[in-house]
């Protein structure tokens, strides 16, 4: 059963300029859905539309089968965790967590019992009589979570709740959020600009750009079968490498490489027609572990980043004048994105190899590239193109 249904939602703050544009979304009951996209893509607006803190210009919002369009936030039976937590500074942790219950007329003893129960669940028992100003960022975040959980609403809405925490705490809170969701089983909509959070937390993630829903699917599908170059560039870290290439006989020529392609793996374009080629950093592999059909390519190593368990190599590759701009036009990357150029006009590819891979900076390394790992996009609109031998999957 659907818990949240958005139909043809349009939100315009300035007439004619949609912040959210004809968006449809159906979220299953108990599902953990992540709304993800770059700054200004409309994800927070969408969350506020679900919360009732904003009303849509047109379209409708349903929660648990009830049309709540035009109904105020207080009547929607939702709870929200804000980016800055929005804890009441003049109330203790106990009062913060119990406020929603008190306002809704629950008896004092019941409020106290519920608050104690949630505090135990989140390890907040020792903090109940303290005020938010005396808590650390992580503790405030837990109190904000506790306030939402104590209410036992139909839906949890979370607006970048981990963005103010340091990297280490973020990882542990991510795991805790996951654990809480599994325990409570309440429908959760979570907004983030961090695609790692989207990939790790969401059962499904909705990728937005400029107020338009690009793709709504499982993280695995978003990564492996992005619908367009924008989703491909946004999902995955480090980002996908892009280059413009063309078929030349049975070979694909791109970024200075010539990769022989079997018939079934060729992009659906004519000979010499330009096509956007995408390859994930792990598509450029250590030849020792590469599949049999992989092609050897020679690359110069410009930068080497040791991450302990793996190494990232940054490799300048050939890029024709104007190609970087043409790629950005369909990936919507900022100038500093994956297709950034070196001073001599080449673009930088990233390869992910094992920690001990012998390729010092300045050397020429041999890497393996499997034709099956290449993804193709239409240069006119950025949409993904299926290889000739691939069955179309929807």
């Amino acid at each position: 059963m659907e818990s949240i249904v958005l139909r043809e939602i349009v939100k315009e703050y300035t007439p004619g300029v949609p912040a959210v544009d004809r968006l449809d979304l159906e979220i299953e009951s108990g599902e953990f859905v992540v709304l993800v996209g770059p700054s200004g893509c409309g994800k927070s607006t969408l969350l506020r539309l679900i919360a009732g803190l904003e009303q849509p210009t047109s379209g409708s919002v349903e929660i648990a089968g009830r049309d709540v369009t035009g109904i105020s936030a207080r009547e929607r039976d939702i709870a929200m965790v804000f980016q800055n937590y929005a804890l009441y500074p003049h109330m203790t942790v106990r009062a913060n967590m119990g406020y929603g219950l008190k306002v809704r007329g629950m008896r004092k003893q019941e409020v106290a019992a519920r608050v104690e129960e949630v505090a135990r669940m989140l390890g907040l028992e020792q903090l109940l009589d303290r005020r938010p100003a005396t808590l650390s960022g992580g503790q405030r975040q837990r109190v904000a979570m506790g306030r939402a959980i104590a209410r036992r609403p139909q839906v949890y809405l979370m607006d970048e709740p981990l963005s103010n925490l340091d990297a280490k705490l973020r990882v542990s809170m991510r795991a805790e959020l996951d654990r809480l969701h599994q325990r409570l089983g309440v429908t959760t909509v979570y907004v983030t600009h961090d695609q790692v959070e989207a990939m790790t937390l969401g059962q499904r993630a909705a990728v937005l750009r400029a107020g338009v829903l690009q793709q709504f699917d499982t993280p695995q599908t978003l990564y492996a079968r992005p619908v367009n170059a924008f989703v491909a560039a946004f999902i995955g870290s480090p980002a996908m490498n892009f280059a413009i290439g063309a078929l030349d006989g049975g070979e694909l020529a791109f970024a200075g490489f010539r990769v022989p392609l079997p018939e079934g793996l060729r992009p659906p374009v004519r000979d010499q027609e330009r096509v956007l080629v995408g390859l994930r950093p792990d598509a450029l592999q250590d030849p020792r572990f590469a599949p049999a059909d992989a092609v050897r390519v020679e690359v110069e190593v410009a930068v080497r980043e040791e991450l302990g368990h793996e190494t990232l190599l940054f490799l300048p590759v050939a890029c024709e004048a104007g190609d970087a701009a043409a790629i950005r036009a369909v990936t919507f990357e900022p100038d500093q994105g994956a297709t950034s150029l070196t001073p001599d006009g080449r673009s930088l590819f990233c390869a992910r190899v094992g920690a001990g891979f012998p390729a010092p900076v300045g050397s020429t390394a041999t890497l393996a590239l499997s034709p099956a790992s290449l993804t193709y996009f239409d240069l006119s609109d950025g949409s993904r193109m299926e290889s000739r031998g691939t069955t179309q999957v929807h």
Partner: protein
């Protein structure tokens, strides 16, 4: 050692001026409060006689009572009006910036000038009575400054009209420091407009309320210009305040010692009441 002296060299000129023109006269004035000085002859020590007269003579007691009544009414009125204006002009009203400037404008005018404008308005032949007659309410026209009740009200209205903009600005600053997300969180928690005002706005505005009550308490206790310009303390002594008595007893009646005792009483009252009020409200702020 020499380095430690350098800062004192910088503050010395200001300290000397402060001592000569503020500290010394204040201390001397406080000293005269215990004398019978009349401004001409040399003063002689009279102990607490002047103070017992303040609380024993009708003039002194009357001034004290008028001051307290005016002060309490002023503190309540200026804060209610100021808070109302602040809440009204905090929202999305398009003209809010212009209106804020308009309501604040009287603050920058001299209280004497404002009082003279109101004296003109409230004159028996002035615009208020003429206006009432013009709209058929001539029976309400009266000598506003000629009756004790309306004269006190006139002083109060003049003060509130001038300083509610000041109070508004302090409340606005307080309102603007409250995160909008707190209201959204409270709305999602189920609180309606009134509940949000009571549970979020009211407690978070307490610091602004403390400052406003302190300032208005001090202004109310020290009211002088408006009374002198509007009523001169009349009709009779109906609007005499401690501050006007300080002036009259010294410069009209030549009772400098008695006047100094009144001034000292006023200073102690202002200090004590402000301190008590600040302590009490700060405790509430938590």
């Amino acid at each position: 050692m020499r380095r430690a002296r350098v800062p004192w060299l910088f503050v010395a000129p200001a300290l000397l001026l402060y001592a000569a023109f503020y500290l010394a006269p204040t201390l001397l004035g406080a000293g005269y409060a215990f004398t019978d000085w009349n401004g001409l002859e040399s003063p002689s020590f009279v102990g607490l006689d002047n103070f017992s007269r303040i609380f024993g003579e009708a003039e002194g007691l009357g001034a004290l009572r008028h001051t307290l009544v005016l002060c309490v009414l002023y503190v309540v009125a200026v804060n209610v009006v100021g808070l109302g204006l602040a809440v009204g002009l905090h929202g999305a009203l398009k003209t809010r910036h212009v209106l804020r400037a308009l309501f604040f404008a009287p603050v920058v005018v001299s209280p004497l000038a404002v009082a003279y404008v109101w004296k003109f308005i409230l004159d028996p032949e002035g615009p208020l009575n003429r206006g009432l007659e013009a709209i058929g309410l001539g029976t309400l026209a009266q000598p506003w400054l000629g009756k004790p009740a309306t004269a006190t009200a006139a002083v109060l209205v003049t003060m509130v009209w001038q300083f509610s903009g000041w109070s508004m600005v302090i409340y606005l600053a307080g309102l603007q420091s409250i995160q909008a997300e707190l209201y959204e969180a409270a709305e999602i928690d189920g609180a309606g407009t009134w509940r949000r005002f009571v549970d979020i706005t009211r407690p978070l505005l307490l610091p602004a309320l403390t400052i406003n009550v302190s300032l208005s308490l001090i202004a109310g206790l020290m009211v002088f210009d408006q009374v002198i310009a509007l009523t001169g303390g009349g009709p009779g002594t109906a609007t005499e305040t401690i501050a006007t008595q300080v002036y009259e007893q010294a410069l009209v009646n030549g009772r400098f010692g008695y006047s100094a005792a009144m001034a000292l009483t006023l200073a102690v009252a202002v200090g004590t009441l402000s301190f008590v009020q600040m302590r009490a409200m700060r405790r509430q702020e938590g």
